[in-house]
């Protein structure tokens, strides 16, 4: 009797694993299509970013004694960290990599909570910070899968404003950079003050500036910083979907393996039951003779 019960047990487990496999398989496909859309979004952003970069660097490099608070290092009393996490789980180690990097940074550089503040995108990061009592200055939860610039504009301009108001003296951004569908790398960049503006090729022309360089920088630099935040968000979203796809694929693979194992034990148990029955019958016949 015991073997019958375990047979039914095994059957049940096989069925439920198969159902889980169907779900993870479907989620993998969904993530794959979201990822390609997110990749496309990130590509759409490239011309804007490149042009902006080109103009910023042509101004910054043509005139080395240009002064602007966003280009000048000052004594750091408070650091801002902008972290980009996901709203949902099921994305493998996507969030934990970012949060681990954040905690390392904080432990290395700061001795008290007054020395830093956090700007958080994504529920996972938000919950994490709340649970640990880390200071969160601003947050966005429930960011769409394919964010538009308007979604992040307010947060980005407020982050830049915090720097301009000297509430923070440095702004770092931590997110997962999308390398390929199977590889995402935690990236930690200093956003403000703007440093290392890449030298452009000689093609950058000598511009006339209307009204003058200072006032253009006044408009340009915040726009530049905001665009970098948006770029990081797009990059992070592509990584999120890629991570989710990978996680779901390995879940599907694991389910397949588990189903294989369970089916093997099921067949063994079934065979054992049959063998036992035959032995019993043969034993019974032998007793009658």
């Amino acid at each position: 009797m015991k073997s019958l019960a375990s047979l039914r047990d095994l059957k049940g487990r096989i069925d439920s694993t198969k159902k889980t496999k169907q779900i993870t398989g479907a989620m993998e496909l969904v993530s794959a299509s979201k990822m390609s859309k997110a990749e496309q979004n990130a590509r759409g952003f490239v011309p804007y970013a490149e042009k902006l970069q080109e103009v910023v660097s042509s101004i910054a490099n043509s005139n080395t004694d240009l002064q602007h608070p966003m280009l000048t290092k000052r004594e750091v009393k408070k650091t801002g960290y902008l972290i980009i996490t996901s709203d949902r789980g099921l994305v493998g180690a996507y969030n934990s990599h970012i949060l681990k990097n954040l905690i390392n940074k904080i432990e290395q550089n700061h001795s008290s909570k007054d020395e830093y503040t956090l700007i958080v995108i994504g529920r996972k990061g938000y919950d994490f910070c709340r649970k640990r009592g880390l200071p969160v200055a601003q947050s966005i939860l429930g960011m769409s899968d394919h964010p538009s610039f308007a979604d992040v504009k307010d947060l980005a301009s407020e982050a830049v404003q915090m720097y301009a108001d000297e509430e923070i003296d440095e702004l770092h951004i931590i997110y997962n950079h999308y390398v390929s569908a199977i590889s995402q790398v935690v990236t930690n960049k200093q956003l403000l003050p703007i440093e290392n503006i890449e030298e452009q090729s000689a093609s950058a022309s000598d511009y006339e500036f209307d009204p003058n360089q200072e006032e253009i920088l006044e408009v340009l630099l915040p726009q530049y910083a905001e665009s970098l935040i948006f770029g990081a968000l797009l990059d992070g979203k592509a990584s999120e979907h890629a991570a989710s796809m990978t996680a779901m694929r390995s879940a599907t693979d694991n389910a397949n393996e588990l189903i294989g194992d369970l089916e093997l034990s099921y067949n063994r148990a079934r065979q054992a039951a049959i063998t036992q029955e035959i032995t019993e019958i043969v034993g019974g016949v032998a007793a009658l003779e």
Partner: protein, 132 residues
Amino acid sequence: MSTLEVSVVTPEGPILEDSFDMVVCKAETGEIGILPKHIPLVSPLQISIVRLKKSGDTKQVTISGGFMEVQPDKVTILAQSAETADHIDVLRAKQAKERAEKRLQDKSDTVDRYRAELALKRAINRLEIANS
């Protein structure tokens, strides 16, 4: 006759790429018209409507500020948002206009008047070219 390659680019991708005879837009220092072979120029733009002229036709694009970069045969406008007439959500623009007007009428100090004014400007521009 030479023409200008014009591209209007936002963070969400290029909105418009075409060649035109003349570009008229509102720089911070006032209205400015760009013809082919203009000297390289960089200038911030106001929240305004950019007019692009090609053989008698005028195409209009709303922009929410940003700036333009001019080269002798090319004009690039970089704005945080930009729309051509057929891409404007009229209903949304109307709602935005009403909301901004209400905020401006509100006398309390909590209202960010500057932001409401900017929002109102954007909405008016959108409605104007959508109805033209």
